[in-house]
C-alpha cells in the first residue's frame, strides 16, 4: 500500500450549512486534511448524480456531498430529496465496482466545524486505506 498516497476528494458543500460549517472549522482553527477540493452549491439537492459520476470519471478518489441536517434545509425539503437520490446511488456505484467508501453523504450544520473536520479526516483515512482508484482508462485509446 502506498504510504504517500494523497487521495483527491471532491466535496460538494451546501451553501447554507456545510459550507458555513467548513468555514467554521477554519475560523475555529480546527485542522482537517487538505485533500478535499470544495465546490459550493446552493443545496445538496443541487447535486445531480451526474456530477458525482463525472468527478469519478475525471479521476477523483472520493466524492463528499454534505448538506443541512434533515429538517433544517434552507429550501425546506431539498435534503430529503438528496437523501433518497444518494440512498440509491450508493449501491448502484458499488454495483458498478466503485467501492462503497468512495462516496459519502453527510449532514453538517453551520455550527459543526468540528464535525466537518472529523468527516473529512475519517473520509481521507478511509480512502488512503482503499488506495488509489484503478487507472482510469486512457481516452481516445483504440478498442
Amino acid at each position: 500500500m502506498a504510504i504517500d498516497f494523497e487521495p483527491r476528494i471532491v466535496g460538494f458543500l451546501c451553501n447554507w450549512c456545510s459550507y458555513a460549517g467548513a468555514d467554521m472549522a477554519g475560523t475555529a482553527r480546527i485542522c482537517y486534511p487538505s485533500n478535499i477540493r470544495v465546490i459550493r452549491v446552493p443545496c445538496s439537492a443541487r447535486i445531480d448524480p451526474l456530477l458525482v459520476v463525472k468527478a469519478f470519471q475525471l479521476g477523483a478518489d472520493g466524492v463528499l456531498v454534505a448538506g443541512c441536517h434533515p429538517g433544517d434545509c434552507h429550501y425546506t425539503e431539498g435534503n430529503y430529496y438528496s437523501r433518497r437520490r444518494f440512498a440509491l446511488l450508493y449501491p448502484f456505484l458499488e454495483y458498478l465496482g466503485i467501492e462503497k467508501g468512495r462516496l459519502r453523504l453527510e449532514w453538517v450544520s453551520a455550527s459543526e466545524g468540528r464535525k466537518f473536520s472529523h468527516v473529512v479526516s475519517s473520509f481521507t483515512e478511509g480512502l488512503v486505506s482503499l488506495g488509489p482508484r484503478e487507472k482510469v482508462p486512457a481516452e481516445g485509446a483504440l478498442p
Binding site: 448524480p49 451526474l50 459520476v53 463525472k54 470519471q57 434533515p70 429538517g71 425539503e77 430529503y80 430529496y81 437523501r83 433518497r84 437520490r85 444518494f86 440512498a87 440509491l88 446511488l89 450508493y90 449501491p91 448502484f92 456505484l93 458499488e94 454495483y95 458498478l96 465496482g97 466503485i98 467501492e99 453523504l105 453527510e106 449532514w107 484503478e134 482510469v136 482508462p137 481516452e139 481516445g140 485509446a141 478498442p143
Partner: protein
C-alpha cells in the same frame, strides 16, 4: 378468435369509425419471422397487424411523436406500464388514446432471420401478464404467478467481488458505440436535449471511449431509476449486446426494496424521486 384477429377487428372498427387517426401495432418484418412496428392509417391496413411472441418492441415510445393526435396503440403489459409512466409525467393525453391491451405470455429474444427460441430474461420472471391499463382487452386475463426470486440476474452480479464487477462493466462499456439506440428505444427517455448531447456544459464528450461511455451508461440507467418499466428494449436494440438490463433491473430492485415502488403500475402515484418521507431511514447520513 386469435389475438391477431381480435387486434385486426378492433383496429378496423376504430379506423372505420374515425375514432382514431392511426393504430400503432405490429406487422411481419422482412425476415418473415420477426415482428416490426406498424402504423395503420386506413381500415384496409388493419389486416397487416399481427401479434405473437416476436412482438418485442415497446410501442409506447411512438406516442411521444403523436402528442395531441388521436391514436390507438397495441400494448403488452410492460408497455402498458410505459403508458402509465408517460401519463404520470404528463407527456401524453389519456383522452387522445385508445389502448388495445394484449394479455401476453412473454416474448422471445429477437434474432434476425431465426425464430427466437429463448424467452426474454424479463419475461421469465414477469409478474404482470395482463395490461395495467387498457380500453380494449385482447385475450383472457390470467392469474399472476408468484415469482419467488424476481431478480436472480441482479443477485448474481451483486454476489461477485467488486473488482470482478468493475472488470465486467469496463469491458461492457468499452464496447459501447454510443449509437444511443438504448435511449431512442426507451419510452422513458424523452428529454428534448439529452445530457449526453448538451454542449454547454459538456457533461459527456463526443469521444466514443471507455471513460465517457461509462458516464453515459451509468447516467442513462440512473435517469430511469424508479421509472424503468422493464420492457427490455434497451438491451434488445443494443448492437453490441451490452447487458443494460442488469443496470436497470438493479435500480428497479433497489427502488422496490427501499421505496416499495414499481414504475407505471398506475398513473397517479408520485415517483420515488419526486416525493419523500421526513422520517425515513435509508441508511445514509445517519
Amino acid at each position: 378468435m386469435s389475438q391477431t384477429a381480435q387486434i385486426r377487428q378492433a383496429a378496423r372498427e376504430l379506423l372505420q369509425g374515425k375514432a382514431v387517426e392511426c393504430v400503432i401495432g405490429y406487422e411481419r418484418g422482412t425476415d418473415g419471422v420477426n415482428a416490426r412496428p406498424f402504423f395503420a392509417y386506413e381500415a384496409a391496413e388493419a389486416d397487416r397487424l399481427i401479434f405473437d411472441q416476436t412482438c418485442t418492441h415497446d410501442l409506447a415510445k411512438y406516442l411521444l411523436n403523436r402528442k395531441g393526435k388521436s391514436t390507438a396503440i397495441v400494448v403488452k403489459p410492460c408497455d402498458s406500464r410505459a403508458i402509465n409512466l408517460l401519463l404520470n409525467e404528463s407527456q401524453i393525453q389519456r383522452d387522445k388514446l385508445h389502448i388495445i391491451g394484449v394479455v401476453c405470455p412473454g416474448v422471445v429474444e429477437r434474432r434476425w432471420g431465426t425464430p427466437g427460441a429463448k424467452q426474454l430474461n424479463a419475461c421469465q420472471v414477469c409478474q404482470q401478464h395482463t395490461p395495467v391499463v387498457y380500453d380494449t382487452l385482447v385475450g383472457q386475463p390470467v392469474s399472476e404467478p408468484a415469482v419467488a426470486d424476481p431478480y436472480p440476474d441482479v443477485a448474481g452480479m451483486e454476489a461477485k467481488p467488486a473488482d470482478e464487477r468493475r472488470t465486467f462493466w469496463e469491458e461492457q462499456f468499452s464496447r459501447c458505440l454510443r449509437c444511443y439506440a438504448c435511449r431512442q428505444a426507451c419510452p422513458g427517455c424523452y428529454c428534448p436535449e439529452c445530457f449526453a448531447e448538451r454542449l454547454d456544459p459538456l457533461w459527456v464528450g463526443i469521444r466514443i471511449a471507455p471513460g465517457e461511455n461509462e458516464v453515459w451508461n451509468t447516467m442513462r440507467a440512473f435517469h430511469l431509476a424508479g421509472r424503468c418499466i422493464g420492457c427490455y428494449q434497451c438491451e434488445q436494440v443494443c448492437p453490441v449486446n451490452i447487458r443494460l438490463s442488469l443496470l436497470n433491473r438493479k435500480l428497479e430492485k433497489d427502488v422496490l426494496g427501499m421505496f416499495h415502488f414499481q414504475a407505471g403500475m398506475d398513473a397517479e402515484s408520485p415517483p420515488p424521486f419526486s416525493t419523500y418521507q421526513k422520517d425515513e431511514k435509508l441508511g445514509i447520513g445517519e
